[in-house]
C-alpha cells in the first residue's frame, strides 16, 4: 500500500497536536514544565518485529496500552524502557527510583501519564477527522517489544504506525515510542478519512 507525502504529513501533524495537548495537561497537573516532541513518524505493513526491535533499541518495555473502536480501529501503545519508566515515575512523584513491576501504585502513576498522552493523541485524531472513538480501559504491561505487539497483531496484514517520542521533564530526557497497531484494512480507512478532510 502506498502512502502519499501529504497523508504522512497529516498523520505527523495529528501526532504533534495530540502530544502538544498532553504536554500542556501534564505541565498543569505537575506544575512543572514538560516538553513532548514527535521527531519522526513511520508506517509499516507486515512489519518484522525482530528487525524493528533492533532498530528502535527496545527489548523489555514498560507499556501503557488502550484498544479503540472507530472507523479506523486498533490498539495504541506507549512503550518506554523499564529503567526510563522508573526514572520518569520517580521524577513525577519526587521519590527514590524503584521497580515498577513490583509496585502497582507506581504502575498506576505511569498508567495515568500514558493514559493522558494516548487520550490526547487519539483525541487529536478524533477531533480533526470528526470520528467518534470508543476506548477500553488503559492497561499497564511489562514484557518484550515483540510479545506485546504480536498479541495485537494476529494477522499478517497488520499495519503499524510508529512515532518516536521524547519527553523532557525536570532535566530528565525520556525516550519512548507511540505505536498504533491498526486492525487489518483499518489503516486504509484512516487514510480515506484523512483524504476526506
Amino acid at each position: 500500500m502506498k502512502i502519499t507525502e501529504e497523508q504522512l504529513d497529516t498523520i505527523k501533524e495529528l501526532f504533534n497536536i495530540g502530544v502538544g495537548r498532553a504536554a500542556n495537561t501534564l505541565s498543569t497537573m505537575l506544575n512543572s514544565f514538560i516538553q513532548l516532541e514527535i521527531p519522526t513518524v513511520e508506517i509499516y505493513t507486515n512489519p518484522d518485529y525482530s528487525e524493528l526491535k533492533k532498530r528502535l533499541n527496545l527489548d523489555q518495555v514498560s507499556t501503557i496500552m488502550m484498544d479503540y473502536e472507530s472507523t479506523f480501529s486498533g490498539s495504541v501503545f506507549l512503550m518506554i524502557p523499564p529503567e526510563s519508566a522508573t526514572n520518569l515515575v520517580s521524577a513525577l512523584v519526587n521519590e527514590e527510583p524503584g521497580p515498577i513491576s513490583l509496585d502497582p501504585v507506581r504502575a498506576g502513576t505511569l498508567c495515568e501519564v500514558g493514559n493522558m498522552i494516548i487520550n490526547s493523541l487519539m483525541g487529536s485524531f478524533s477531533n480533526v477527522l470528526q470520528e467518534t472513538v470508543n476506548y477500553s480501559l488503559p492497561e499497564y504491561k511489562e514484557s518484550t517489544f515483540e510479545n506485546i505487539l504480536l498479541e495485537k497483531s494476529e494477522q499478517k496484514e497488520t499495519s503499524i504506525c510508529i512515532a518516536n517520542t521524547t519527553m523532557k521533564i525536570q532535566e530528565l530526557e525520556i525516550r519512548g515510542n507511540l505505536i498504533i497497531v491498526f486492525k487489518v484494512g483499518h489503516l486504509e480507512k484512516l487514510l480515506a478519512s484523512i483524504d476526506a478532510i
Binding site: 495537561t25 498543569t28 497537573m29 505537575l30 488502550m66 479503540y68 515515575v89 513525577l92 512523584v93 524503584g98 513490583l102 509496585d103 502497582p104 501504585v105 507506581r106 498506576g108 502513576t109 498508567c111 495515568e112 493514559n115 493522558m116 494516548i118 487520550n119 487519539m122 483525541g123 478524533s126 467518534t132 472513538v133 470508543n134 476506548y135 477500553s136 480501559l137 488503559p138
Partner: protein, 540 residues
C-alpha cells in the same frame, strides 16, 4: 430527579460493590453516591445526591479536573487519577484521621434515556496495598544495604586472605633464600670437620675427637633443620614439583623398613611389616616424596618408642578403591590435648626430658606431601600406650608400574685411577676452594687448578683442557649454567665432564642442571665421601 435515579434498580446494585462509585452529570451534579463511598467519606447519599460536586469538593473546579472531566463528557477515553498523583480526589478518612489512598478510574456512561453521557467514577482503596509496598520497599532497601555491607565485608576478608597468602609466599621465598645462605658457611664447617676427622697423619687425642664429633653432630643437625625448613617452604610456596608415577606400595614400604632397621638397634625396637594377601597394590604418587613420608613416620615411631618396643607397618585395601597404610608404635604416645597441634610446624610432643633429635616440622611436611599427592593422613594416640598413623590413598586401577629400583641398587665399585688427572674448580668463594683442595689431598694424583670467576675459568678450560670441571652455580659475574653452555659450544671443552657444586639444593635446580648436561650435582655442604666417590667414578 436525583432521588428517583438512585432508586433505579441498576444503580441500587452499585450499593453491593465494595468499591467507591459515584456518577456526576455534565452540569457537575451528583447522580449516584454508593453505600461504600458513604462509609468511606462519611457523606450520606441523600445529602450529596443532586448537589454540585464542587460544593463538597471545591478542587473539582480547579485544573486539571475540569479539562479532564470535559473529555469524559465529550464521550472521550477513560481517565485515570492515580493514587500517587491524586491523593485527595475524594478525601476519605480512616479511623485514625489519616486519609485513604485511592486509585480512581473515570469512564463515560451513557444512560439510554439521556442525551449526554455521565461521568462514572470507580474508586479503589489502595491504602493497605500502598503501605505493604512501602514496607516491602523499606525491607528491600534494608536488605540491599545488608547485602552491600556483607559484600564489603567479604571483600575485606578476601583482601586480607590475599595479603596473608602473599605474606606467606614472601616468608617461604625468604626461607628458601636464607637456606641457601646458611648452606654456604655450613659447607666450610662440616667440610673441614670431616677433613680433621679423616686426618690419619696427625690423629687427634680422645678429647679432641669427642669435641669434633659434637661439632659434626651439631652441624648435621643444623643441616637437617635447614633441609626440612627449605622443604616446607617450597611445599607451602607451591613450588614443589611432583612427578606422579605408579608406585608399588609393598616394595616402597619394604625398602624403607629395611633401611630403617639399623636405627632400631640402639633401643632394641622390633620393626616389622605386614601386608594383605593382595600385595600388588599401586598408587599414583611421587616415588621420592612418598618414600620420604614413610621414612619420616617410621623414623618417628622408632625414635619416640620405649626400649624394646615395637613398630608395625601394615597396609590393607579398604575395598572402596583406597589403600590404608598404618604405622603403629608402642611408644610414649600423645595426649588428647596435644593431638590437634601435632601437624603444626615446630611442635614437639612426648619427648619429656629426653632429648630426641629432630626439627619439629617433619609431620607438617608429611601432611603437606600426602595431601598434595591426593591422600589423607590421620593419627590416633593414647598417652603412654603408643600412636597409630593412618595414611589413605586412592588405589591405581588397571595399571601395573615397574617396582621402582631407586635406592635399592648398589653401584659397582670402580678402581681408582693412578694416572694424573687435572681438575678445574670454578668457584667465587676462597674457602670453598680451600676445602676442596684439602679434600683432594687424599688423591695425590689429582691436580687442582681453580678460577674465582666463570669467564676466567672458561679461558683456563680452553687452554688447559682439564679432565674434570667442578662448577659453582651461583656466581656474581656469570652463573654456572651459562658457563656450562659456553663450554659445551667449544670443541676443545665440550667433552669434559662437568660436576655442579652448589648450595642451591632445590629439586628444580638440580633437575635443571642435569637436563642441560651436567654429569652430576653435588649439594653443599659437601659430604666428603660422596664427593670423592663421584669424582673417582668420573675420572676412573
Amino acid at each position: 430527579m436525583s432521588q428517583n435515579t438512585v432508586q433505579h434498580p441498576s444503580f441500587l446494585l452499585l450499593n453491593h460493590i465494595p468499591e467507591g462509585i459515584f456518577i456526576i452529570k455534565q452540569d457537575g451534579c451528583v447522580l449516584v453516591w454508593n453505600r461504600c463511598l458513604e462509609n468511606w467519606s462519611g457523606i450520606k447519599g441523600k445529602k450529596i445526591i443532586g448537589e454540585k460536586i464542587t460544593q463538597f469538593f471545591p478542587h473539582f473546579g480547579e485544573p486539571p479536573y475540569p479539562d479532564r472531566l470535559e473529555n469524559i463528557f465529550q464521550n472521550g477515553p477513560p481517565v485515570i487519577f492515580s493514587s500517587q498523583l491524586h491523593k485527595h480526589v475524594i478525601p476519605c478518612p480512616l479511623q485514625d484521621g489519616s486519609l485513604r489512598i485511592l486509585h480512581t478510574i473515570v469512564t463515560s456512561y451513557k444512560a439510554p434515556e439521556e442525551v449526554t453521557p455521565y461521568a462514572l467514577f470507580t474508586i479503589q482503596d489502595v491504602t493497605n496495598q500502598t503501605f505493604q509496598i512501602r514496607e516491602y520497599n523499606s525491607l528491600h532497601k534494608k536488605l540491599k544495604e545488608e547485602i552491600q555491607q556483607r559484600k564489603e565485608a567479604e571483600n575485606k576478608i578476601l583482601k586480607a586472605k590475599q595479603e596473608a597468602e602473599k605474606a606467606n609466599r614472601a616468608k617461604s621465598t625468604f626461607l628458601s633464600q636464607m637456606s641457601h645462605e646458611f648452606r654456604t658457611p655450613l659447607n666450610s664447617i662440616l667440610g673441614f670437620t670431616q677433613l680433621l676427622q679423616r686426618d690419619f697423619k696427625s690423629p687427634l687425642n680422645s678429647q679432641q675427637s669427642k669435641n669434633l664429633e659434637r661439632v659434626a653432630a651439631a652441624g648435621k643437625h643444623l643441616l637437617g633443620l635447614i633441609n626440612e625448613v627449605l622443604d616446607l617452604a617450597t611445599i607451602e610456596a607451591g613450588k614443589t614439583n611432583f612427578t606422579p608415577e605408579p608406585v608399588h606400595i609393598q616394595a616402597v614400604l619394604q625398602e624403607v623398613v629395611s633401611l630403617s632397621q639399623p636405627s632400631t638397634k640402639t633401643n632394641k625396637i622390633f620393626l616389622n611389616i605386614e601386608g594383605t594377601q593382595q600385595s600388588d597394590i599401586f598408587i599414583e604418587a611421587d616415588y621420592l616424596r612418598i618414600r620420604q613420608v614413610f621414612f619420616n613416620l617410621i623414623s618417628n615411631a622408632i625414635k619416640f618408642n620405649k626400649p624394646q618396643g615395637s613398630v608395625y607397618v601394615r597396609f590393607a585395601n579398604t575395598g572402596n578403591g583406597k589403600i590404608r597404610i598404618y604405622v603403629e608404635d608402642t611408644g610414649v604416645g600423645i595426649s588428647e590435648e596435644d593431638l590437634p597441634r601435632l601437624f603444626n610446624p615446630f611442635e614437639r610432643f612426648g619427648t619429656g626430658s629426653t632429648f630426641v633429635e629432630g626439627t619439629g616440622i617433619g609431620l607438617t611436611i608429611c601432611r603437606n606431601l600426602v595431601e598434595s599427592m591426593g591422600g589423607q593422613i590421620k593419627v590416633v594416640s593414647a598417652l603412654g600406650k603408643g600412636s597409630t598413623f593412618t595414611l589413605e590413598f586412592p588405589v591405581l586401577n588397571n595399571q601395573r608400574g615397574e617396582v621402582p629400583a631407586k635406592g635399592l641398587s648398589v653401584a659397582p665399585g670402580k678402581e681408582l685411577s693412578l694416572k694424573e688427572k687435572r681438575i678445574l674448580y670454578i668457584e667465587d668463594i676462597d674457602t670453598n676452594i680451600e676445602l676442596v683442595r684439602q679434600i683432594l689431598l687424599d688423591r695425590p694424583n689429582y691436580q687442582l687448578i681453580h678460577s674465582l670467576s666463570a669467564s676466567r675459568g672458561i679461558e683456563i678450560a680452553l687452554n688447559e683442557t682439564p679432565d674434570l670441571i667442578l662448577m659453582d652455580i651461583n656466581m656474581p659475574e656469570m652463573d654456572g649454567l651459562t658457563a656450562f653452555n659456553k663450554l659445551a659450544e667449544k670443541p676443545e671443552t665440550k667433552s669434559i665432564p662437568v660436576i655442579a657444586v652448589s648450595a642451591d639444593a632445590m629439586g628444580t635446580d638440580i633437575e635443571k642442571a642435569l637436563n642441560i648436561g651436567f654429569r652430576s650435582y653435588i649439594t653443599k655442604p659437601i659430604n666428603v665421601d660422596k664427593f670423592l666417590e663421584t669424582i673417582d667414578s668420573l675420572l676412573a
